[in-house]
Symmetry: C2
């Protein structure tokens, strides 16, 4: 408990909830660290595909990057419309469900959930790669470093969202500043003629440059756009006016992202940089521009920090989505409980566990995780854009034709991207997501069906009258006469007129002894002795209770169990073995009420 | 359940217990398979030590064997006196405790328990070795084979002791017959001059022949005597007159054992046989006498069977000892419960688990287990003989001087043997037993101390009067209005005049809605609304209950929990999370009574 308070802080009152709103400055840090940080690996992933066709064709990385930036522009414009239309938070789930129906909504939700987990895993893995580029000695410990980072982020998030915003602001702005400085200095060097175009080292082609390969490079680069939608999920976390602030934050984020991504792609081409196993592309660029000086290390450190912290976007988004699903009864209801610190703590913890599992399974390797990534994001993009198109067609309203065209373009562009990613990455890992999606949807639906069935079963009918009092027979199973037993009998006789102590006759001598003692201590309660030729104490008791239930088809049977509670946990194996078996057997009988009367031992 | 019945058989009535007595013929098979079977490895273990001083000195195995047979004779005579003196079963624990006191008794008990586990492990490992001598292809699977054998024996023993006797009689007598035949044929071959003394292959000495080495050989050979005492533990399992039958069985067993052991040692010397890694000594003798014919395979098969089944002696002895210890409160009481088939099932299962663990830890290797063996047995021999000496000194009676001399000789002989074994085998593994013994004794004593403390705490005083009726406040925590809640309130209002439904106010709108519903459905029970600024439902409830307890320092507080029981187990994660936390927190409060009112879902 003390440890929890130290790590997580004191509990917050419900009333304090409204103060946990973010100004734009902090919101950008919390929600945009994911898309911004992806520039750290997006160019590298494009080059990794292109280089298969030899080092001669890597100039294609620039047009591929430009195409992705075009997609980013379309996406930003169409998402701003969602932010204004859904000020209460327009995640893909909400938009798809309210406009297209349950199944598309759940598909979007499942896609997003998978993606949040992958965001954490990919970002942390890439962050560790930035660190090991600068400090190769840490390379063998990359899995441990990744797990450590996730645990750190979980703790920070359990403290609550505003404090997270503060913790995340500095590294995010440092990263943006450093990368823009690097791009700026690089461009100045080029324009002033201080640096010349370098040819990359010769790498032979193992595949020919086909359209499929270009599309594969495009798919890899699309990871740059993951997380762009996070702001639209979290509109309610912005200060008022929420939609306007969120929209402006989104536009600003897109501008910064586009600039950095294009800059890195152009510089990588200019310096003839190819991906290497032991050093990231960004690290190579920084080394080329800044040399081995302090600015190089600043780039690596801020890249690592933003990547590790980028995982935080998912920790803002996943618990929110899980709580919305839980409120709609598609996830266990406890996912919707606000914790001490006004955070959906269960969601935070579950996301942490799953992403740790991915880091371990994929040995903390970014390239192995990338093919699983982006399918889900683009599927959810497509569903929410399609949902908006449907919305404008039915709702209409001011400028609806213009808005329809914007979202229509968004839907077509993201739909195409989804198809391209799923096709070109299928054998490399996207199949895992394709298999997982329907399973998750089935799980959501089975939970929903269960909660609906429960609600029907516990619902009170309109003409339901308060029930009439029923008879209650109290049974106290005993195996001796002692304080614990007398305490239970004392409790029981106040509860009903019909109380019986019940003894199973295992040893006739012992039974006779107990009967004599009972006359003195029994508080006047009847002692029933049950025969038990097979020495099954629990079996005989169950038969007796069954008999009582059959005698009165409406009455309760209360079983009062004298339970000795030891002072130390290990002593439990020395007590109550039979009580446990009896309780387990009685749990499934209707009209049987279990009551424990504890007797606490002091030593 | 069906599987259990198929494996174990139908339950037996308590009255059938007296019929589970064994005639001498069957008792020999059940109790003597352990000592008899040890001739299969005792000679080999002697030779394994002697050969360290070179093949020239292996003739010492015969005098060493003769010394062990002398020890056997002393032991048999002195144990017969115990059988007559303790017809109710004179295990080392009983004899040592009643004559020497608690600590020697517990020492004997701990030594025996360790030894029972080792008997199972050593016998099974040696049995598997007999099998793999004849069928070397099975050698890599020896651990799996050992585990399989133990599982088989556990199942047989859970069926009950008389049926075990039947199953074990045939192999035991076949083994005795085959070995005696082998020894007889071998002697005839020698006497009729058909076979000549063979020199063993040359093995260089790595140690010199010292007294210490001879004593080590003697220690190894003493494993032949393990299990000799089992009969004295199980006198009550014999047909009447128990003592006479048990005494005769013991004498018969000793005679057979001595003959076989000496015969094997002499033949091994005559044929110049030395231990080999891949073939047992008995297998080599049988091959020399019978060739590769069917009689050779009969020796191997019966050896394997008797060894695998020898483990059964321990399965008769361990649960009996554990039940006696449990009745004296030195072991958990459930060890004294007779199962369905009149067997102490818990003891059987625990012995099975521990011996499986040994087989796995020691890779099913007999030679690795042997040094741990015999220390415990001889320690318990010594303690019971010393106990008898003390008994004759205090009790006296007819011929007490003669009896004292007999047991005195036994005590001195076994005490010397214990010292020799512990010293010569210490570094080879006996230290494990020396460490384990005091730990076990401590464990026994802490259990005993706990049961005594409990008995004192629950004891009723002579002047104790039945308690006066106390006030009872019933609290029903609710979070909504539904059938499950109404059911719980309906149950509660019949139990006490003072019933309150308690609602924690997490969401004011929801609270207002519930209050309106309560007016209609509440059965007239008061609804208490608790404020909860920090949204901690369980915390607020606990505070409220604490308050009630403080208001009336003598009264009960009954917490009636409406519990929704799902139709399928996995649905439990969707329900009752708070109820579970609440129950765990309330379990440790005095005067708080937990009552579950179940509401069973049907789908």
């Amino acid at each position: 408990m003390l440890l929890k308070r130290l790590l997580v802080g004191l509990p917050l009152k419900t009333k304090q909830a409204v103060h946990e709103r973010l100004p734009k400055r902090l919101a950008l840090a919390v929600f945009a660290s994911d898309p911004l940080s992806s520039v750290a690996y997006a160019t590298e992933e494009i080059l990794l595909v292109l280089v298969l066709a030899g080092s001669a064709v890597v100039f294609w990385s620039v047009p591929v990057s430009l195409t992705i930036i075009l997609l980013l522009t379309i996406l930003t414009i169409s998402y701003r419309q969602i932010i204004y239309e859904y000020p209460e938070g327009g995640g893909a789930y909400t938009v798809a469900k309210s406009n297209l129906g349950q199944l598309p909504g759940l598909t979007a939700a499942a896609a997003l959930m998978i993606d949040y987990v992958l965001t954490v895993a990919v970002s942390v893995a890439a962050g560790v790669a930035a660190l090991t580029s600068a400090a190769p000695a840490l390379f063998p410990h990359r899995v441990a470093l990744g797990l450590l980072a996730i645990v750190m982020i979980v703790v920070i998030n359990l403290r609550g969202v505003r404090e997270s915003g503060r913790i995340f602001a500095t590294p995010t702005y440092l990263f943006v500043g450093t990368i823009l400085l690097m791009v700026g200095v690089g461009l100045v060097q080029i324009l002033t003629g201080q640096s010349f175009r370098a040819e990359p080292r010769q790498v032979p082609a193992v595949e020919s440059l086909t359209l499929f390969l270009l599309l594969r490079a495009f798919s890899s680069g699309c990871t740059a756009l993951t997380g762009v939608e996070t702001i639209s999920n979290g509109v309610t976390a912005f200060k008022r006016p929420e939609s306007k602030n969120a929209g402006m934050t989104m536009a600003g984020m897109a501008a910064i992202l586009g600039t950095m991504f294009l800059g890195i792609s152009v510089l990588a081409y200019h310096f003839g940089i190819l991906p290497r196993e032991d050093e990231t592309v960004v690290s190579q660029i920084a080394r080329a521009i800044f040399g081995e000086g302090p600015l190089y290390y600043l780039v690596q450190v801020t890249t690592m920090l933003i990547l590790i912290l980028a995982a935080n976007s998912a920790f803002a988004g996943f618990p929110r989505l899980a709580s919305i699903l839980a409120r709609d009864s598609y996830m266990p209801h406890q996912m919707a409980l606000l914790g001490d610190r006004l955070v959906f703590s269960n969601g935070v913890i579950i996301l942490g566990l799953f992403s740790c599992a991915l880091i371990v399974l994929f040995h903390g390797n970014t390239h192995a995780l990338i093919p699983l990534y982006a399918v889900g994001v683009f599927l959810s993009f497509t569903l929410s854009q399609a949902g908006m198109v449907r919305r404008w067609m039915t709702k209409r309203g001011r400028h609806w034709r213009k808005k329809l065209v914007v979202n229509g373009m968004g839907a077509v562009a993201t739909g195409l991207a989804t198809l391209i990613i799923a096709t070109t990455k299928f054998v490399h890992g996207a199949w895992i997501v394709v298999v997982l999606l329907p399973l998750l949807i089935l799980w959501f639906r089975s939970i929903h069906a269960h909660y609906i069935a429960v609600a029907e079963q516990v619902a009170l009918e309109r003409d339901h009258r308060p029930p009439l009092p029923r008879r209650n027979t109290v049974v106290v199973p005993i195996s001796g006469v002692n304080r614990a037993v007398i305490r239970a009998v004392d409790y029981a006789r106040g509860r009903s007129a019909d109380v019986r102590a019940v003894l199973v006759d295992v040893d006739p001598e012992e039974t006779a002894r107990i009967q004599i003692q009972w006359a003195q201590w029994g508080c006047g309660v009847d002692l029933v002795v049950l025969p038990s030729p097979y020495r099954s104490v629990v079996g005989s008791l169950l038969d007796y209770i069954e008999e009582l239930l059959e005698k009165d088809h409406n009455g309760w049977v209360t079983v009062v169990i004298p339970e000795i509670l030891p002072a130390r946990w290990w002593q439990n194996i020395l007590h109550n073995q039979r009580a446990l078996i009896l309780k387990a057997a009685l749990l499934f009988k209707d009209r049987v009420i279990l009551t424990d009367v504890p007797f606490h031992l002091e030593r």
